[in-house]
Symmetry: none
Subunit: 420 residues, 2 copies
C-alpha cells in the first residue's frame, strides 16, 4: 500500500513557510501500514498540480493533497483534483450551513468564494473540518488511485486527519495490525562506527527495521516493528533490542525521542539525591547551564563556579599557585584540584571540573585537549583526558557531553569512560 | 531558470524529521532569481532516487539534492547522482586529509566508509563542508541539468550553501554583473513587527531585495543587490540600508551571517578592556558559556558564579539573608545585590546578574519573569524586569540575550533597553 503526499502551496515552494504537515501525515499513515515513497511540493498552479497528480497516479495507490482548499483565487486544489479524477463537485450541506451561520453572526458579507469551501467530490465522502470552513474529502476511485484532500492550516489538518480521515482510511483499506517504534540513544560512539558494528542487523532489516540517526554528539537508533497486536510488536522490538545491546550496549544511555544525556543525568541525580556542582574553565558555564535545562534540577544543583582564568581558579577554588605553575592549567593535577575545590566550596556530593584548550593552543597543547575531573563523595578524585577536534564551540559541547557521561557512569558504577 | 529540490532521506518520508532545508534552499535560490516549481522528498533508495532525478531532469535546469552524503550504507545520493549524470567520483584531497586528521587526533579507527565522504564528481567542483566531513559538489552538466549536492544536517548545509555553493551558482548563471548581499542583525524586535514596519521596503523590493529571517531570539535582514560592478551593488545596498535604519535602526546591532550578539559584546569588551563577570541563577551559567563562545574572551573574562539556590547566593555573593527574605529571590533588590556581589568577588568592571522563573511558578511570580542586574564601574547598579514566555529553555536563552544587549547598550551609552 503506497501513498504519495502532494503539498500544494507557492509559499512552501518559496520557502516562506516550512511544511510540517507532510511529516505529520506520513507518521500517521505509518500507523495504518501505509508507506510513502515520494512526497512532492507544488505551487498553486493548475497545470503543474495536474502534472504532479499524473506522476503520482503512476506510483501510488492513494494520493493525499494538502492545502489549497480555501476561498481565495489561488486555492485550486479541489477543482484540479476533481478534474483529474473526473468527479463533479457538490455542496456539503452541514459545511455550507456553518459558513452561512458564521457570516450571519459576524455580520460579514458572504461572497460566492466562501461557498466553494463547502464543496466535495460527488462520489466521495466529505470530512468535517472542526477548526475551519474548508471541508475535506476522501474519494475511493474505482479506476485509479484513491484521493484524500486535506486542508493546509495545521490546526485544521491535524484534527481532520486524526478524527475523520484515518478512521475512513482504516475502514476502506481494512488494515489489520499496527506499527510500533522505539528509540534507543547512544553516547560515545559515532554513527559510522555504530552502523559498522550493527551492519548485520541494519542491512538485513525487514521487520523490525533498524534506522540510525546522527544527532549532535550522539546517535539514536529507531526500531520499528509491524505486527497484528501491540504485544506482538513489542516482542519483536524487545528481541531486536537484545541483539543491539549485545553489540553496542555499553554506549546506550536511554530511550525516547525527547530524552537527552542531561535529562538522564538529572534523573539519576534526583533519584539518588546526590548534589552536584562544577568548576568550569574552557566550558565557561556550559555544563551547568546544560544541567539547568532539566526541570527540577534545583533539588540537587545549588550552583557552582566558572573559573576561566588561572587567578580565579586560585581565588575561588583555593588551588595553590604552585600546583598550576608546576603542572600547567590544562593538566590532570589542575582538573583534580578544581573538582576537589568545587566539591568543598559548594558542599556537594559530586563535582565535575573542566580545563582544556577550546581553540588555538595553550601551554603547547593543541585545541581539543580537555581534562575532566570528577570528585565523587569520599572516593579519590579522578580525571580523564580527551582529544576532541579544532572547533571551539564543538569542543566545548563535546566536553560537556563527556562530563555528563562520566557522572552517569559513576552513579551507575560503570567504568568512567566507554571502551574506545 | 528553474531548479528542483530533491530532499533524500527515509527519515523525512517517515515524518521522523521535518525538512527545514528545502525552504532555506528555496529562499536562498530566490536571491539568485532561481525559482523552484517542484520539490520532492524521496527515501534512501537507489531506484526511486534515479526515478526522481529522471522526472526532475525533464522539468528543471538545475537539480539540487539534499542529504545522503554521509558514511553509512544508506547514504547513496552521491553515487546515484554520479551514475545519473555519468560522472566518475574522485577524492577531494583536502576533505580526505580532514577526515584522516580527525581520526588520528581522536584516536578513532577510520573505516573505508569514512573515505566516501571525500568523494565528488570528477568534472564538478567540490564544495567545502565547514561543519562536517561530507564534501558537497556542483557539476555543470553539458548534456542535461546541472546538479548541486548538499549535505543533510542543517548546520552543514547552511554554511556550505551560503559561503560556497551560492557564489558558484551566481558565477555560473549570472553571465554579466554580480550579486552582492549584506546581512543586518537586529535584537529586541520580533519578525512580524519588523516586517510590518518595513512593509513598504520589503513588498516593493526588486533590486535590491530585502529578505527577513527570524533566527533564535533575533531577526536578520538580508539585502541583496544585482549590479554590473561591485561598487554599483554596494551603492544600492547602502541606499537601502539607510532607509531600513531610519525605520528600525535602534534595534540594529551588527552585520554579517556569522556575527552574533555575544560576538558584538565580546568585541566591545575587548576593545574597551572592560572585564566582565556574572552571577547567574535561572540561567545557570548560560550567559557565561555564551560569552565563552567568543574567541579571545579570556582577555576580559576571568570567571564568575552560578548561584542557583538562595544559599549559594548568600554564601558566594555575600548577600544578606534578610534581603532575600524581605524582597524574594526574583526581585530587583536581589538582582542588584547579585550584580554588586559578583563585581566585587571577581574585581570586574561589569557584572551581570540573572534571577528569574524559568518554568512553573516561584514566589507567586509566573514563568518568564526575569530580573537582570547590571553593575558598571562605579555607577549605581541598575536592574530591569522582563516578562518572557512559558518555555523553560527559551526563557533562559532570552534572558541571556537580554543581558548581552544591556551590556552592549551600557558600553555604547544607549538606553539600557530599546523602546518597546
Amino acid at each position: 500500500m503506497q501513498a504519495e503526499i502532494i503539498a500544494v502551496g507557492t509559499e512552501i515552494l518559496l520557502g516562506q513557510i516550512t511544511d510540517t504537515n507532510s511529516p505529520l501525515v506520513a507518521r500517521l499513515l505509518a500507523t495504518l501500514d501505509i508507506d510513502t515513497y515520494y512526497q512532492t511540493v507544488v505551487g498553486d498552479n493548475h497545470e503543474r498540480l495536474l502534472s504532479a497528480l499524473d506522476i503520482a497516479s503512476k506510483r501510488a495507490d492513494l494520493i493525499i493533497t494538502i492545502g489549497g482548499l480555501g476561498p481565495t483565487p489561488d486555492d485550486l486544489t479541489k477543482q484540479t483534483v476533481a478534474e483529474f479524477v473526473n468527479q463533479a463537485l457538490v455542496e456539503d450541506q452541514p459545511a455550507l450551513a456553518k459558513i452561512v451561520d458564521y457570516h450571519e453572526q459576524t455580520h460579514r458579507p458572504m461572497s460566492d468564494n466562501n461557498r466553494l469551501q463547502a464543496l466535495y467530490m460527488a462520489d466521495g465522502e466529505p470530512l468535517l473540518n472542526e477548526n475551519g470552513f474548508a471541508v475535506g474529502c476522501f474519494y475511493a476511485n474505482p479506476t485509479g488511485p484513491d484521493v484524500l484532500l486535506l486542508p493546509g492550516p495545521p490546526w485544521e489538518l491535524e484534527p481532520m486527519l486524526v478524527k475523520h480521515a484515518l478512521p475512513v482510511l482504516a475502514e476502506h483499506y481494512q488494515q489489520s495490525g499496527m506499527l510500533l517504534s522505539r528509540v534507543l540513544r547512544f553516547y560515545g560512539i559515532g554513527e559510522s562506527r555504530l552502523v559498522t558494528q550493527l551492519a548485520r542487523l541494519i542491512d538485513d532489516q525487514t521487520n523490525p527495521t533498524v534506522a540510525p540517526y546522527a544527532k549532535a554528539h550522539e546517535v539514536t537508533l529507531r526500531i520499528t516493528a509491524h505486527a497484528q497486536t501491540k504485544d506482538a510488536a513489542i516482542k519483536l522490538i524487545d528481541e531486536m533490542e537484545v541483539e543491539i545491546m549485545a553489540e553496542v550496549g555499553e554506549y546506550f544511555y536511554g530511550y525516547g525521542d525527547d530524552f537527552s544525556l542531561e535529562a538522564c543525568v538529572g534523573e539519576l541525580l534526583i533519584n539518588s539525591n546526590l548534589h552536584i556542582t562544577a568548576a568550569e574553565s574552557m566550558t565557561a558555564g556550559l555544563f551547568q547551564s546544560t544541567l539547568g535545562k532539566v526541570p527540577g534540577i534545583s533539588q540537587v544543583f545549588d550552583g557552582g563556579l566558572v573559573t576561566y582564568s588561572p587567578a580565579t581558579k586560585i581565588a575561588l577554588l583555593d588551588i595553590k599557585p604552585a600546583l598550576i605553575e608546576q603542572h600547567g592549567v590544562v593538566s590532570e593535577a589542575t582538573a583534580i584540584a578544581m573538582a576537589q575545590g568545587a566539591k568543598k566550596q559548594l558542599a556537594a556530593d559530586i563535582a565535575v571540573s573542566f580545563t582544556g584548550v577550546a581553540s588555538g593552543e595553550l601551554e603547547g597543547q593543541p585545541a581539543g585537549t580537555v581534562w575532566i575531573g570528577l570528585a565523587f563523595q569520599d572516593e579519590p578524585v579522578e580525571a580523564v583526558v580527551y582529544h576532541f577536534g579544532t572547533e571551539r564551540q564543538k569542543n566545548r559541547e563535546r566536553a560537556v557531553m563527556a562530563g555528563l557521561d562520566m557522572v552517569r557512569r559513576k552513579i551507575l558504577g560503570l567504568p568512567l569512560v566507554a571502551h574506545k
